[in-house]
């Protein structure tokens, strides 16, 4: 029972890390970026290439995956994304889904369609038991890393000058720039950071979720569920939503394996029926 809870939390944390970047762009910048998973995949493939072909240690790959995806985001934001901020959501959806298909095809071309494997270090492969709860070291590692990142993000958003500038820039870009806030730069940094988080999520998740060219499509639904259920105005919303979905998914598959795949969707529908604005968003908020 506790083992299931633990696995659910680990899975949820991973979902959070993958989806939080989307929550940032969608919630704060009001941009529907369905290509978010592509940044996650970029981080995953970088890790696979570095650790398998060049022998870079796994732990060193993680920050590199973050930086790589963040850099990718930083390049694409001013060149491609910025043009679409003011366009209707449908344009953004079409644009980003097109981007997804292009990445899927490109990755398929260069790496082949087979699963990529990331070799994790031995000490993360251990497993131990505490009070009847089986704990995999790697899942514990994920929980710790994601937990720390969530705290960090919450702190940055609510406590720092950058956080308040970002919120100002989102609420009213013309006024914010009138006050001397460089809106473009703030959006650029935020977008890059969100992409970097996805890249880190892809690198961490490759071991558990698998990694192949269809990754962005496979997990797009999960990201969207997290964001829809959690609301996008806070960091805690998506975090709690991810945990809830992770636990519901894992526990559901354990206790009623026949329904396995449906649980996560049923939970989403139930929650959205009761609270269409998302679990933790204020009613009437964006």
């Amino acid at each position: 029972m506790l083992t299931i809870l633990f696995d659910g939390v680990a899975y949820g944390m991973l979902l959070f890390l993958l989806a939080s970047g989307l929550a940032v762009t969608l919630g704060l910048m009001n941009f529907v970026n369905l290509a978010h998973g592509a940044f996650a995949m970029a981080g995953g493939y970088l890790t696979a290439v570095l650790s398998n072909r060049m022998g870079v240690p796994f732990l060193a790959c993680l920050p590199l995956a973050f930086l790589f995806s963040a850099a990718l985001g930083a390049v694409l934001e001013p060149t491609l994304y910025r043009r679409l901020y003011r366009r209707p959501h449908l344009d953004q959806v079409l644009f980003s889904i097109g981007l997804v298909f292009m990445t899927v095809a490109a990755v398929d071309y260069y790496f082949g369609s087979t699963q990529q494997f990331v070799r994790i270090p031995e000490f993360l492969k251990q497993r131990f038991e505490i009070a009847g709860m089986g704990i995999g070291a790697y899942r514990l590692f994920i929980i710790v890393v994601c937990g720390l990142l969530a705290l960090l993000m919450q702190a940055v958003l609510s406590r720092t000058r950058f956080g308040s500038r970002l919120r100002a820039a989102v609420d009213d870009p013309p006024v914010a720039s009138g006050l001397g806030i460089d809106v473009n730069r703030i959006f650029l940094v935020t977008f890059a950071f969100g992409s970097g988080l996805a890249g880190l999520g892809g690198a961490l998740g490759a071991e558990i979720l698998g990694l192949d060219p269809t990754f962005p499509l496979k997990f797009m639904i999960y990201f969207l569920i997290v964001v829809a259920v959690g609301g996008t105005t806070t960091i805690t919303g998506p975090l709690l939503a991810s945990l809830l979905l992770g636990i519901a998914d894992v526990a559901g598959k354990y206790y009623v394996p026949k329904l396995g795949a449906f649980i996560i969707y049923s939970v989403m529908i139930a929650i959205l029926m009761l609270r269409p604005q998302g679990l933790f968003a204020r009613a009437g908020g964006k």
Partner: protein
């Protein structure tokens, strides 16, 4: 020249042209091969294409005085595409054979067209039992899941395994494997304590593996499509199931030659039953693997590949038997009962079932010359699909 003679000359010339045209058209026999070359099942397509080309390179492109032309089309694993492409190949290209078919739904979508056009359809990879019953023009050179599942059930029962949990991907072949394993294993006195079906697009095996662990069986029988096998194996060891005394058995899809070597040591010792291993010890296979690696240095042939290789062989042999005639009925009739030594061992095309009767081997993953291979240690000769054999 009188008008009559002009007419006659023209008619004669016309007939002459017609005959010449027909003769030209007959020179070339087209094989329309439809494979998933992109998308999640592209590895199957690439294997089969590489093998078909290898066979043609080895044996030349001329059979019974006809020149063979191979047309490879990509359906990306989508049944609607397969059907559309098959129709184009039949109507526009006038192919004499349809071949390939990476997944069950792709083969099923095309079956009615093969019947209608009377074109032999050589199924090289798709492995659900029912496929060959969908058209009298379908001949399969791959395998069926019940065919390779039954032997591992027998082996498990004989080797002190009494309680088994089955874990299969929730789609046609998985359900076939689950049923075949249960029937055979319970008949041999074993007990299937739990049957788990995993969604095909399943990101995380954790909950299912935990359930396996809590059921404490002697072994878990696994069928997942080959690409998924690697993720499964990793999580199996991560969860400590290998140390808790639960054995991992399955069909060879889990330890697919294509990706086995990348799985690492977690795969060592896994026992599977299957009809082909790149490590199969025979002169025919050694020559085949050597040629294959020469043509495709980074790849290793796998079970789908060998299905493609033998499929081409079947097409060659059928054309030889009909002396180049491309009449669909004659070709299928010629294919029935054909037998030869394949890289996987001796095989026969069963005349009633239009399925390949073949040896199934029990294998264990071992390190051979620095690489991981499925090493065969027991042979069950001439296995037919057990769900069809009594008919």
């Amino acid at each position: 020249m009188p008008a009559g003679r002009i007419m006659r000359t023209l008619i004669a010339a016309g007939i002459g042209l017609g005959i010449a045209g027909a003769a030209l058209a007959q020179e070339v026999v087209k094989i329309g091969m439809i494979l998933p070359m992109t998308g999640p099942f592209a590895s199957t397509g690439r294997q089969i294409e590489a093998n078909a080309k290898l066979y043609m390179a080895q044996h030349g492109a001329t059979v019974a005085g006809k020149k063979l032309e191979l047309i490879v089309k990509d359906d990306a694993g989508v049944p609607d595409n397969t059907k559309r492409i098959a129709q184009e190949l039949i109507v526009n290209d006038k192919v004499a054979f349809l071949a390939g078919f990476g997944l069950t739904p792709l083969a099923l979508a095309t079956a009615p067209l093969a019947t209608e056009a009377k074109v032999p359809m050589v199924v090289m990879a798709a492995a659900t039992s029912v496929i060959t019953e969908k058209s009298p023009y379908i001949v399969r050179t791959g395998f069926t899941l019940p065919q390779v599942t039954a032997p591992i059930a027998d082996w498990a029962a004989k080797n002190g395994i009494k309680k088994v949990v089955t874990l299969v991907s929730d789609y046609g072949p998985g359900i076939d494997a689950e049923a075949a394993f249960k029937t055979r294993f319970t008949a041999a006195g074993g007990q299937v304590v739990e049957e788990l079906r995993v969604p095909l697009r399943n990101p995380d095996f954790a909950p299912f593996l935990q359930r396996v662990r809590d059921a404490k069986p002697d072994a878990v029988f696994v069928f997942v499509p080959s690409g998924v096998g690697a993720a499964f194996m990793k999580q199996f060891t991560e969860r400590g199931l290998d140390k808790s005394g639960i054995r991992l058995i399955g069909t060879g899809d889990v330890t697919d030659d294509d990706i086995l070597n990348d799985m690492g040591d977690v795969a060592l010792g896994v026992v599977t039953s299957f009809h082909y291993s790149a490590n199969h010890n025979s002169a025919v296979n050694k020559a085949y693997v050597a040629d294959y690696k020469k043509a495709n240095p980074t790849m290793r042939p796998n079970f789908h590949g060998v299905g493609g290789y033998d499929g081409m062989q079947l097409i060659y042999k059928a054309l030889e038997a009909t002396k180049g005639s491309t009449n669909g009925d004659a070709l299928v009739a010629a294919m029935k009962g054909m037998a030869w030594e394949s890289p996987r061992g001796p095989i026969t095309i069963d005349p009633q079932l239009r399925e390949t009767t073949q040896n199934v081997y029990i294998r264990k993953v071992e390190r051979v010359g620095g690489e991981l291979y499925n090493v065969e240690f027991e042979t069950i000769p001439a296995v037919k699909d057990p769900t069809k054999a009594p008919k």
